[in-house]
């Protein structure tokens, strides 16, 4: 803990702000606990002695509820460590790239197209503007990876239209 945060602990001043993100985290943990209990309640208890499969999820759910309360207390007291400002655009670009990759794999577009899409969006997220050049680089690199894995290591990677040409 930083010295600042420690000294802040000493004064329970009402001026401290509630950390909204912390409240959301606490709520998410409580929600996860609810899912665990709901899922466990559907398991039939068949074990004669000891613990059945439904016992551990309930124990973990109880732990999650306690931790949700702990996180909530930290959030209400504003005790969370300071966060730096963030730029949402690159994060969105990379997540978009991952979504594109999943979609291309899902629709049978193959390894080369899928990973090339991720390469180009990630590179753009880190500030590159030369999309065409990056696309060319990505296609070459991923084709080489595909060939190395498919032909040398005989590890099967999903094939699409481009892979079938090779």
């Amino acid at each position: 803990m930083t010295p600042d945060a420690a000294s802040e602990n000493l004064r329970p001043a009402p001026a401290r702000r509630v950390d909204r993100a912390g409240v959301v985290i606490a709520a998410a943990l409580a929600g996860l606990a609810a899912v665990l209990v709901w899922d466990a309640s559907k398991l039939p208890s068949t074990t004669m002695y000891g613990m059945g499969p439904e016992a551990m999820p309930v124990v973990i759910a109880i732990g999650l509820v306690i931790l949700a309360i702990g996180n909530l207390i930290d959030a209400l007291r504003g005790n969370l460590p300071p966060r730096e400002s963030m730029d949402p655009k690159p994060v969105g670009l990379i997540i978009g790239g991952l979504a594109l990759l999943i979609a291309i794999i899902g629709f049978g577009g193959g390894f080369i197209l899928a990973t090339s899409a991720l390469f180009v969006t990630t590179s753009a997220a880190f500030g590159r503007r030369a999309v065409l050049a990056d696309t060319a680089i990505a296609l070459v690199i991923t084709t080489l990876i595909y060939l190395a894995f498919d032909k040398l290591l005989t590890l099967s990677l999903p094939a699409g239209p481009l892979e079938r040409l090779l």
Partner: protein, 500 residues
């Protein structure tokens, strides 16, 4: 004692087979190359390279693993020294002085003292491992399931709560991992838990998917989100690579002291390399004859922590190999490597597959030696890897990261999990939740549960069995103390501060 020598000699015979030497060499090379990339620590190095070993036999694969493991450690310290971005908290102390040395044009000696120190510490610690392991195995064969369960409780608590910044956030990470560990078919009854009718989830969450998502994708998202803050600067290696006589004189004692901190603390089921590295750093700072250099690039401040870091890495292999207990994210990935062949480290593995275990230990020595020979001459190559422009570097890391998953399980569900874990890793970094406890919770949670259920089945459901075994009662007591200590100490601190 003689048994150990015989076993080790046998292991050496296994590891020295030409094919196995080649595997070790490939492992060392790949481990260093991936470990040197900024933001990639040893755990992620092992996770990323796990798919490469799929097609090998268990022996060769574990030997390659040993090389990847040590290579990743060496690579990480190179990055810490040359660009001040420690891939993991254990390299933080190295970055502190090492980067200052590099800035002052003494990057060569800094890299050399860290490489030679790692070699010295790794060798001593591996000898320690070889002698401690059989002794611990003798002890561990008497463990009942309740004792194992209690031991895992100790590991859970110490890894998540005792040594972190915030016990609440550490335990939260652990419980997220434990929750993920529940997913899939329950091994004892065949019931599906948390699968929500999705067939891919019946097999459970893959450790590699989780680790690669949290570490690689999460790190890429995090670095991208704060790219506008500061550019990393690569320090060129100027001047001589070699250490002067003065450098040697100032380095050898810190190496040995660092090893003495690192190995025992790493071997405890508490794990973590942060504590020994910082203990070593503060000790060297106190003992040095050149206190004015500390903070400006003192060679002792690189030599000690690097040795401590490597010794503790070898130390974490003690509980991993003898008890099947991973105490760091890297050790958890090693356990995943064993599990992909259906092997469970522990006393039984020593009895059933001595060739594997001792081959692995012997190849640790070999990997260490290879690294010493390879690393200093090849430092120019590693530096060139560091100079890859950031956009291509992270784009490449993500392609490589997703490739592992695509090769193992090319399904939309698995890839979506990878992306979701990536977002989770990003949020955890942003809100300062530790990541290693999630991985350890996932891999150790199901084992702990099955041990507990086995213990309760034997005792016909009587929970007192956990307290009747003196071993288990003691361990549970330790776990309770370790859980409460940070809260009590924090309370005491506040109380004292109020008195002032």
């Amino acid at each position: 004692m003689m048994d150990t020598f015989a076993a080790l000699a046998h292991g050496m015979a296994v590891a020295m087979q030409p094919m196995n030497l080649l595997y070790a060499l490939i492992g060392v090379f790949l481990g260093t190359a991936v470990g040197v990339l900024p933001g990639i620590g040893p755990a992620l190095t092992v996770a990323l390279l796990l798919p490469v070993t799929y097609k090998l036999d268990p022996g060769g694969s574990l030997i390659m693993f040993a090389g990847i493991y040590y290579g990743g450690m060496y690579g990480g310290s190179t990055t810490a020294i040359l660009i001040n971005t420690p891939g993991e908290s254990a390299s933080m102390a190295t970055a502190l002085e090492g980067n200052k040395m590099a800035k002052a044009g003494r990057g060569g000696p800094a890299l050399a003292t860290s490489a030679i120190g790692s070699f010295v510490a790794g060798t001593i610690a591996t000898i320690g491992l070889a002698f401690l392991a059989p002794w611990l195995v003798d002890f561990a064969v008497r463990f009942g399931p309740e004792d194992y369960f209690a031991l895992m409780c100790v590991a859970f608590v110490t890894v998540s709560a005792t040594f972190g910044d915030s016990p609440v956030r550490g335990l939260t990470s652990l419980f997220i991992g434990l929750t993920l560990g529940l997913v899939g078919i329950d091994k004892l009854t065949g019931q599906a838990r948390l699968a929500f009718g999705i067939p891919e989830l019946l097999d459970g969450v893959e450790v590699t998917t989780l680790a690669v998502g949290l570490f690689a994708v999460g790190e890429a998202l995090y670095v991208a989100s704060r790219r506008h803050h500061a550019e990393e600067k690569l320090e060129p290696v100027r001047g001589s690579l070699w250490m002067t006589k003065e450098d040697w004189r100032r380095s050898w004692k810190p190496w040995l002291r660092g090893t003495l901190f690192g190995f025992p603390i790493g071997a405890l089921p508490a794990g973590g390399a942060e504590i020994p590295t910082f203990l070593s750093y503060s000790t060297e700072r106190r003992l040095t004859k050149h206190p004015e250099e500390f903070g400006k690039g003192a060679i002792e401040g690189v030599a000690g922590p690097e040795a401590a870091n490597n010794a503790s890495a070898a130390g974490t292999l003690v509980p991993l190999l003898t008890l099947g207990l991973p105490t760091s994210a890297t050790a958890a990935m090693m356990l995943a490597g064993f599990q992909q062949y259906g092997l469970n480290p522990g006393p039984l593995l020593f009895a059933e597959r001595p060739d594997l275990v001792w081959g692995l230990i012997a190849s640790l020595f070999i990997a260490n030696g290879m690294l010493l020979v390879l690393n200093l001459p090849l430092v120019g190559l590693w530096v060139r890897l560091l100079a890859i422009p950031q956009p291509w570097l992270y784009a490449g890391i993500l392609v490589f990261a997703t490739m592992g998953t695509i090769a193992a399980k090319p399904s939309v569900v698995e890839l979506s999990m990878l992306a979701a874990f990536g977002v989770m890793g990003f949020l955890m970094r942003r809100f300062d939740f530790p990541i290693a406890p999630v991985v350890i919770g996932l891999i150790l949670g199901p084992i702990a549960e099955s041990q507990l259920r086995r213990a309760l089945a034997i005792s016909l459901g009587d929970p007192m069995v956990l307290l009747q075994s003196p071993m288990s009662a003691t361990l549970l007591g330790i776990a309770l103390i370790a859980l409460l200590a940070p809260f009590v100490l924090k309370g005491l601190g506040r109380f004292k501060a109020n008195e002032d």
